[in-house]
Symmetry: C2
Subunit: 984 residues, 2 copies
């Protein structure tokens, strides 16, 4: 037996670098290894990745380097989690009775884990490819059905951003319904203050006059009123009967919008039955955490009459190529890119994930379960009210209420201070008024604690439990809900955890997400949403904070906001950021409103022309229109670049009226326009401001920046470049960064004043543009952790590799498809366009055929026919491995060969594997097979599909049929059964 | 406009009950609503559920009611989470340098979320149905490949329970290899103390003599040595060259077992190359949290020669009905139910989920990544050692080490106390010896903190970073690893998060779990594993605690253990519990050893006969054999009951030698034997103890109890009745409860003394039977929360509904299949058996054909041919809804019709839809279809499959082929490619 000593001959010393923590993040996010980078760059004709980047990003706009004040080296994953835990511990979760549209709720754990924390749900894209999206389409249809049932109006969309903007959208609808002829919109003073403020902001661009007025003072004498907004129950809790009120409004030709509460509507007569034209509200309290303000799904319901005026996405029932019922987004041609300068809404990314959560909450509880919850909340509020009356220390309002009790007292502040000491937040309405809102999480013990607070030192001789018997149901009989709701079997089947678990997984199994394969949607930046980034989102100390809680209770959040503002300033070259806009389009709108305010502040009231290239995303003109700007379009040249001469002429012609240019960079064509310096200069020379659409920021970070390029304001889609997952159509975040001169005008908020981060010297803020002070605060940790873990170098590498990956794919594909628009050195930016227009003539093939055939290869199609009709735009992102890029290229090349077969006349131009795509199993294993090609050829066109394949669940969905026969709620089971039988 | 006041006419008062929290749990876990309960009971011929239960459970053993000292009413889900957070906060996470087989590790977040926290992985069963288990089979094959690569031995199993029991299994193998002829097993003193202790305990039953001996004192002169166990690196860190040692042992005919460390083996010459016969160890530090002791996967690798002696499950490569490679459990006929009294291992449930985690950790890091981690850990240990030498306050051992530095000092306790104040745990070996083990999570700052501790007040004039340069790699050159490992492409492809995410989801998509449909495996109790139960498992304050940390740091755990012990005592009618056994079979073994110790203590050394009914689970005789007991089998009567007269005779015949009876209740036939009172009496009258196998506890809770019935000891499979998910073949927990007289003998532990909970008056404990003091402590919160949320009534209802569901199904099926064995009133317990033996003659159909055809219906087959060959045993559990039960019955009834078609001669007896099952898509949509039945008939035999179907991924797997051509590691890619090409 031999012991062994260190054999000195073999010793090598250890480097300090080798002792640094090993769980570094950038190599998990960025795909290509250094060796792969070199190889791929060489394949593209460059000596190195850096050479490729140098040739691609114009020298004039290249920044030397980027350095962060914090996190410059990047934290490891475990360091990040530690850091976030420290931040979380700085947030204090008080018991909130603030209400105002935000309530505590129990997120059912089965939904938390299997939906909110499940990448198979949260990494989905908007269901553009219906055949691989039937799961979430069903869930969103459940959502729409839930909204229509509870509001009593037959049409609902699939979510809006928040209750406040939903009200503003409804206001715009009223304006539209009356064709812009009546320019006053009344808002009852019993609406939430943030709702009122958002409508006021939004009205400016529509040239509407918003008048806040007490209900009893409302009259329509002016003859100029298009609509009125009331709240039911009111912000201070009261339940009023609006029946006659609505009749009166209608008699004056005035449309009535009601803001309402879904839980209350399980007990109250629905607004539809009262005669409301539009109902808006938030689905937050249906199992979506408050999250310091969002994200949550807002809803908007209306009558059949106005359905084609509804903003947002709407899911509808149609049929597939085999005649079976199938779902898809209805009326897609309505999307904002069509309306452009006539648009009255710019909503694009909404709140799909949160709508799904709310819908699943209703599925889990069912109608009876929801009513039980509502009655309990109402009972606790009643118990509280009865107890206060017994106590006699304060005066209780005597109007009927659902969940919110209004109290008059001599010193509201004193009571609030006592509450504060008990970790309780109340709403202080004014010096003598407090409201207390109850919710699903309140217990009898909580009510006892409140008694102690309101007793002001007086002994409490009873308990909530002891007086509960005496408490009465206070819903007025005339307003008691009588019509049933959620009668569809989906809301009456999945009430045990196993049943809901399986329903969730059944739907999930129908939907392609980033868990399966790349989703190379151009302009959408579907990159990795890393687990570490997602983890803090569901920690209670982030998720259970009311947006209007005193800011010192949210010190962790506030620290993160400050640091995130600072990091984003460094990344963008700006001086200040607003975190309020909760989607990209909301950012555009906010940014243009800032520009507008700036011009106004200088007396330039006449500056209202916005120049927008024709290649712009549809939200750009829509946002400009919503700001009351006049749009002047400029064209692009053959290379896809903005026609600078045309731009110059337009700017000079509008010299005195020029407000802004909206420009996307790199361009929506995927090119770094060399003339961007000139472009900015022309605009500035003519008195305009440059608004940069930051959707393509993934090609800029660390290489250049909007600020460096010369933009004055820019929004960032945090759900693109900064890793917030797309959730099947939201949530997103669209913060805006600005140069110093614009910082004073960044939006504020009526309840919790906000402004630029870092704060500018002076402040003349816009009103609110979102319901919550910092938008969807709960998802900001995602972007924050991404930036902090990547560090400045990791982020810069990400940009480079995103560009490399796009160029690598373009190079592989160029022999098979024309690649449109490249830069001066023949490279593209982080995305590129392949041109399919030729195949229309040679083979009868359209982009949709290629996209649907890609489904058979296991892939989600690229962006179709935008920004150029007849093309596909491909954006791989830095997170996709070379192996995945190669598979995708192989698929497209293989499809090209399939097209060639048609061109050669070898296969039928009308009946071929592209036109027949996608091929679901039901079709492929049907006894009858009448296609001219083989089953296996349809099913397994590439070798990798043999080891695992994601199957579409329907044949190609018929959009036209669905739009002609618009059905936007669940089919009654009987009809489905008939359909099923017919197709069995 | 009208205000509305409370319409008094409509008022109704609110009940206190309606104000209780609404997120109650039992209705989420138990499926049938009260209305359904009545209907289903009526369908079974009873007036009510209670009437059915009264008729089913023998009156003589019914308990009146069950009442808990705590949680009797059950907590709601949110109350439970709050309570667990409080417990978690009582656990203090110190930085652990204790080592001894347990190390801190970074669980890669992508694995945490998508595997450990993913019900699609953790609710899987052992892969008995290979065609719907190819995902985890691949992952376990990765695990086996990883183990063989790193140990340098060609055969590995798919996990064992822990390192200590793995060593004991290896010891038993040595005994077997030498055919029991040499009865001494040597253990080097450089092994972990818990390993030594477990081997000592285990040796007793095998009549082996374990001698702990210092390496230098080892000799084989006695000629009686079958094997020797050494550790590499040793428990105190030293790296020794065992090459000559092994040669010498072999020269004496002695087998060598090496306990080793996977991370060290990335740098060290593998044991296989040194000549070891068997290598064991733990895969914990490969990304599995310490969890205060478990669960973790242990491994055992050996040579080709001994492969058929390996304990545990082994995954192997075979082919499917279409000739394609397909995986399945190899050599299943070896499972313990075959060997019975000749068994030397009883392992059944192992640690599949944790083996999968460890394998995925290796997949994610790859060979280079693992080596980087190992070098870093080694470098930090070296830096620490170098710093201590500089400090000069203590003496550093001079043997080479990998991660553990051994220190000699004058007062170990004094240093440990300073460390304690810095939230640091060290290992105190003795008064003058400390070891410090480094791991993946250690940082340079941590090393600095250690310097401060060891400086004992002396100023530290350097930092870890400053001295790192001087540090040398200390792996002896002769022991430096030279052979490559993990060269298979699977370990070299998935190193970015997107790639690993997709690999995980690709595998997941092949496996059926409780996320899809019921898994009605008789005797397995596949009930709901609720999310709330699972959540605390991944909280850091539960997962990051070393099992040998001072108990006061684990006050939350300790409180939970105490309460869980108390609750389990109430549930079982016992007086004390041991939480140490980490699977059911380990519980059996521990329980029998307790009985043995009891007899010994009374001088009854001769009591070694164990009576076991022939219907017992195979683990029962295996466990008895391992305790050195002689097994006397007794038969069952036609009704499936134990033949009492035979039992009486056997007991009386063995009156003087009777040790125990092992009995399962209700019986493995799913019947409450009326004679159980008699049975217990007979055993006791003859001096024996009654061991109850608690696998069927789900039919007892709240209705009767083992203690009440008369058992003296019983194990509970917490992974059956008490909701620990099965994880695809483990983890599990098998705590044992005992009557007062047995309590003193419950197992203890050499490092952290344990014993009964509540603690008995006197204590003469067994040695350790698991490596960790409280077994797999990390998963105990699952059972604890289940019990606490259900409360006594919810649990009792669960038992009733489990019985109801089984009877409902039996009733529905009895017209179609003979139902074997029912109680006196014609009811079954919580499970029942359908008899398929007749079909062998009438239609050539075997149970396997029915199970495989069930896959086409979207279901996992019931337990096949156990306990009665030719039958299926169905156990629905209380968590399955009536809708699900009906679907399963419909499937079986439909299959019965398919069998009838064969019986009638309408279809070919050798070529029909049952023999051809299951039908994967690749078969169903192949161009060539040569079956005599249609594709659609094969694919969609039931209507519900049209809306969503879980597809098998291979045709029927050929077990015989695989066992003849045993391949238990990943095929080289080239072979796979050839196979693929051949089959493409
Ligand atoms: C160029 C561009 N601008 C704006 C938007 C709108 O962003 P959001 O959907 O977040 O409102 C998009 C969305 O795809 C876009 O691609
Ligand atoms: C009746 C019975 N006893 C014992 C066991 C063994 O339990 P484990 O697999 O946890 O070791 C089982 C497992 O299924 C069983 O059914
Ligand atoms: O695991 C079983 O052998 O049942």
């Amino acid at each position: 037996f031999h012991q062994v000593h260190a054999a000195k001959s073999f010793v090598r010393s250890i480097t300090v670098g080798a002792l640094k923590p090993s769980d570094t993040f950038p190599r998990r996010h960025n795909s290509a290894t250094p060796e792969e980078q070199s190889k791929m760059a060489e394949f593209c004709g460059f000596q190195s990745l850096d050479a490729l980047i140098d040739a691609t990003v114009p020298q004039s706009i290249r920044i030397q380097s980027m350095e962060f004040n914090k996190f410059d080296d990047g934290l490891t994953e475990s360091q990040m989690i530690d850091h976030m835990q420290k931040l979380a511990s700085k947030n204090k979760v008080f018991k909130s009775y603030i209400g105002m549209g935000y309530y505590n709720t129990h997120v059912p754990p089965v939904i938390l884990r299997n939906l909110l924390e499940n990448p198979a749900w949260y990494t989905q894209y908007t269901p553009y490819q219906a055949e691989i999206s039937q799961g979430r389409l069903e869930s969103l249809l459940n959502y729409q059905t839930m909204i229509t049932d509870l509001t009593g109006l037959p049409m609902s969309n699939a979510s809006l951003l928040d209750e406040g903007t939903a009200a503003a959208e409804a206001m715009a609808m009223c304006n539209n319904i009356l064709k812009g002829k009546k320019k006053t919109f009344l808002i009852a003073s019993n609406c939430h203050p943030q709702t009122i403020d958002i409508c006021k902001t939004r009205a400016e661009g529509f040239d509407l006059k918003v008048v806040k007025v007490h209900l009893k003072d409302i009259d329509y004498k002016s003859g100029d009123v298009c609509g009125v907004l009331v709240q039911y129950p009111g912000t201070e809790g009261e339940i009023l009967d609006y029946g006659d009120f609505i009749k009166n409004a209608h008699a004056h030709g005035v449309k009535v919008v009601m803001a309402s509460d879904l839980l209350a509507l399980t007990m109250l007569k629905p607004p539809g039955e009262l005669g409301a034209d539009i109902v808006v509200g938030s689905a937050q309290r249906f199992g979506v955490p408050m999250g310091y303000g969002g994200p949550h799904a807002a809803f908007l319901a209306t009558s059949q009459e106005y359905k084609r005026m509804m903003p947002g996405r709407i899911i509808g029932v149609s049929v597939d190529s085999t005649g079976k019922p199938a779902l898809r987004m209805a009326m897609q041609t309505r999307e904002q890119h069509i309306r452009r300068d006539k648009a009255t809404s710019n909503i694009c990314t909404a709140q799909a994930l949160l709508a799904n959560m709310a819908a699943m909450y209703a599925v889990y509880h069912g109608p009876e379960g929801l009513k039980t919850i509502a009655q309990r909340v109402h009972g606790l509020a009643g118990t509280f009210s009865a107890g206060l009356k017994k106590l006699g220390t304060v005066e209780v309002q005597d109007l009927p209420f659902f969940d919110t009790v209004k109290v008059k007292c001599s010193d509201a502040k004193a009571i609030a201070d006592v509450a504060y000491k008990h970790d309780i937040n109340l709403r202080i309405v004014d010096n003598n008024t407090i409201t207390v809102s109850f919710d699903e999480t309140t217990t009898l013990e909580d009510v006892d604690n409140l008694f102690n607070v309101f007793a002001l030192g007086k002994p409490v001789t009873f308990t909530a439990q002891s007086i509960a018997q005496e408490v009465e149901n206070l819903i007025p009989s005339g307003l008691t809900r009588e019509t049933p709701y959620l009668t569809h079997q989906i809301f009456n089947s999945y009430h045990t955890e196993h049943e809901l678990l399986r329903y969730l997984h059944k739907l999930q199994s129908k939907d392609l997400s980033l868990c399966h394969s790349m989703i190379p949607l151009g302009s959408c930046t579907m990159k990795l949403n890393a687990t570490t980034e997602m983890m803090p989102v569901t920690w209670p100390n982030f998720s259970n904070i009311h947006p209007f809680a005193p800011t010192e209770q949210a010190a962790g959040y506030q620290e993160m906001f400050d640091d995130l503002g600072d990091l984003l300033c460094t990344i963008t070259g700006f001086d200040s950021f607003s975190l309020q806009p909760n989607a990209g389009a909301a950012g555009e709108y906010a940014g243009l409103m800032v520009i507008r305010a700036y011009h106004m502040s200088r007396g330039d009231h006449h500056r209202n022309v916005c120049i927008i290239p024709v290649s712009a995303h549809g939200t750009n003109p829509a946002s400009a229109a919503m700001c009351g700007m006049k749009i002047v379009a400029v064209g692009t040249d053959a290379k896809g670049n903005i026609n600078i001469e045309e731009l110059r002429k337009a700017a000079e012609a509008n010299k005195d009226k020029l407000a802004a240019l909206m420009v996307t960079y790199p361009s929506t064509h995927g090119v770094y326009e060399e003339g961007i310096d000139d472009i900015c200069k022309i605009i500035h020379d003519n008195g305009g401001q440059v608004y940069m659409d930051g959707a393509n920021m993934n090609a800029q970070v660390g290489l250049t920046s909007p600020g460096f390029i010369g933009a004055d304001v820019c929004h960032l889609n945090l759900h693109k470049t900064f890793c917030i997952p797309h959730g099947g159509g939201g949530p997103g975040m669209g913060p805006i960064g600005v140069k110093k001169h614009l910082a004073p005008y960044l939006p504020s908020h009526p309840v919790v004043p906000t402004g630029g981060l870092p704060a500018p010297d002076k402040s003349e803020p816009l009103g609110a543009i979102s319901a919550a002070p910092w938008g969807s605060a709960l998802i900001l940790p995602i972007s924050y952790t991404y930036i902090a873990m990547m560090g400045s170098k990791g982020l810069t590498d990400a940009s480079k590799i995103a560009i490399l990956n796009a160029n690598y794919m373009a190079k592989r594909l160029e022999k098979h498809y024309p690649v449109l628009f490249r830069g001066v050195n023949g490279t593209c930016a982080h995305e590129f366009i392949i041109d399919l227009r030729g195949f229309k003539n040679t083979a009868g093939i359209e982009p949709e055929d290629v996209a649907k055939r890609l489904i058979d290869y296991g892939f989600h199609g690229p962006t179709m026919s935008w920004p150029v009709p007849g093309t596909l735009m491909i954006e791989p992102t830095e997170s996709e491995s070379k192996a995945e890029l190669d598979r995708f290229c192989d698929a497209l090349i293989s499809i090209r060969k399939e097209i060639a077969q048609i061109e050669k006349g070898n296969v039928d131009i009308n009946n071929n594997v592209l036109k027949g795509a996608p091929h679901p199993p039901s079709m492929l294993m049907a006894d009858a097979w009448t296609k001219p090609y083989s089953r296996e050829y349809a099913a397994y066109p590439a070798p990798w599909l043999r080891s695992a394949k994601f199957w579409p669940t329907t044949g190609r969905v018929d959009n036209v049929y669905g739009d002609r026969n618009l059905i936007c709620t669940l089919l009654p089971v009987s009809e489905m059964a008939e359909e099923k039988a017919a197709n069995a």
